[in-house]
Symmetry: C2
Subunit: 338 residues, 2 copies
């Protein structure tokens, strides 16, 4: 197992998305305006609920990847705006359906849409947003784009079901977990990046390099997300933790902790995650166990490996600010764990 | 208000889908095989749940419309098979999400998927089936087809939210109700029919005629569906009734009954459908009220008018067995109420 230095820092200053934001800032404004325009409907509940989830939607990482990848490929047109918006619509639809499935009351510290409006509108507005994303792709008019995004949508949905099947099953192994992550998270990252090469009409080698970059980045991103849910440091910062634990989701920290558990610990995991009998002190014990047996560290080492793979995928491109911005993203995805 | 003869019979024998089934039977076998192929996934829960809902999916009316419309337009290729399967995937995805929204335990007398597997798989497998439908359209490769179906998907999702907004609201009027029906039901009927002219590369006038036929047919179909849910005759036949009542859905029989209600009756509707306080005898009283004030009869008269409009839309086509089969469908949709 790789030994990692938990104090490792990125070269230079602390990793951030600043360079990316500077590079695609203007494009992102256009994307946000387009999202706002396309989420409208005479049915008032739709823009209300969609506005809530889109506002709570965070960093717009996925559409920024499409924008930066297009620029990296020398693209100077406008198609990347519509496709970036489309990627965000697909992502947002997935979030809405995730929250119904998880019965989450919070998303990134805000009340989740299903807590505010109920499950029914969340399911149906998710469908609406997905359809709007679909219309944006059709407006783009490229069958290659449509193939990439329809395939990604199908893989994502399959991954979501796969995740559900592994829920509450502590016999889930590392490969099962990675297959969930590859499909439910990394497929959209890969598609978002690949689209950059497609709109710029670049050779297949570049499209594939960007696809590999996105896929590895997505896996690293999800691994760190899953680690952060058990991070004592996050808790100190006042951020919500323990959602996955309360949902009985089997993420890599859990897979590794269960593999390394003694009989008594295994009974603990079984009670908490399979039988879903949890009391207030259990999350704290879970965090302690995951840290004690190195499961958190080893999960982060995996994330680091995928981030490094993402960096290597960019080697086919020349040294440009765009390439550096995408490299920053890979560093950022891992460094935010510390 | 039109006076209708509730004993009215279609010309000739009792209306049926036999002619349609005979005409498109071979094509429909190919559609069913394609559906079975495309619903597969290494994630076992997907074909299990999808197989259940697709098997319970009934008559395959929508894909049969695509098949018959294509034949009516003289089409001799194979594209209509994939598109008919796609239409059924969209329909099935909608059914799965409907049942989650309605919290239905039964669908056409079978246990519903969400009753058997729970809400979560129903939401996610619905997403999967929609994505598979989307891939089928992309495989077809026509941007015009993609435009028609992406637009229809968006309108359907909007209609589903619209229906949710009118639920439990007894101030809903006839136009609100019709707007729900036009979007949630008729949009897919219209698209399914229109595709027939598109694959056959027929002039816009024929595509629009088939679109109008499908739209009117869809409205007639839904009106009759909504009437049947309050039909004493259905109850006598052992069929499930009262689902809409128990869900607090505001369909045309309710809209009309509420409009014609005295104060005491209005209080009854408010208690049952807005406050959702129902006891065992309420459905019987609801049926009695709807029949006594002519709401059922007038709803059926509306269905008849839309069916007649569907028939008129076909007048641009010559007298062929295909046209007759589509005319039969319009008769069937209304006659099944009796």
């Amino acid at each position: 197992m790789a030994v990692i230095d938990l104090k490792r820092k990125p070269t230079g200053d602390s990793a951030s998305l600043d360079r990316l934001s500077d590079l695609v800032g203007e494009d992102l404004k256009a994307v946000n305006a387009l999202i706002l325009e396309r989420m409208q409907s005479p049915v008032a509940m739709i823009p209300q609920l969609a506005g809530h989830i889109i506002a709570a939607g965070g960093k717009r990482l996925r559409p920024m990847l499409t924008l930066a990848a297009a620029r990296l490929c020398g693209y100077t047109g406008e198609r990347h705006i519509g496709l970036a918006a489309c990627v965000e619509f697909i992502h947002t639809a997935t979030l809405l359906h995730d929250d119904v499935v998880d019965q989450s009351d919070l998303r990134r510290g805000f009340d989740s849409a299903n807590a505010l409006w109920g499950n029914k509108p969340s399911v149906l507005v998710g469908d609406f947003l997905f359809s709007r994303g679909f219309q944006l792709m059709v407006d783009d008019g490229s069958l290659e784009v449509l193939r990439i995004l329809s395939h990604a949508s199908s893989v994502i949905a399959e991954g979501e079901v796969r995740q559900l099947v592994t829920s509450n099953d502590i016999t889930t192994n590392e490969e099962d977990y990675l297959e969930v992550v590859r499909s439910k998270t990394a497929a959209l990252f890969a598609a978002a990046c690949r689209l950059g090469a497609v709109v710029a009409d670049r050779p297949l080698s570049e499209a594939e390099a960007l696809g590999r970059y996105g896929r590895s980045l997505g896996i690293a991103f999800q691994l760190v997300d899953d680690v952060l849910d058990y991070s004592a440091h996050q808790a100190e910062l006042g951020k919500a933790i323990g959602d996955d634990f309360r949902d009985g989701k089997i993420t890599l920290p859990i897979v590794l902790a269960v593999q390394r558990a003694n009989d008594e610990e295994r009974a603990f995991w079984k009670r908490c995650l399979e039988d879903m009998e949890q009391d207030d002190a259990d999350l704290e014990r879970a965090i302690a166990l995951i840290q004690a047996n190195g499961a958190l560290e080893d999960s982060l080492a995996q994330a680091r490996r995928y981030a490094d793979e993402a960096l290597r995928s960019l080697s086919v491109f020349g040294h440009t600010p765009e390439r550096q911005a995408l490299m920053d993203v890979a560093e950022f995805c891992v460094e935010r764990a510390y």
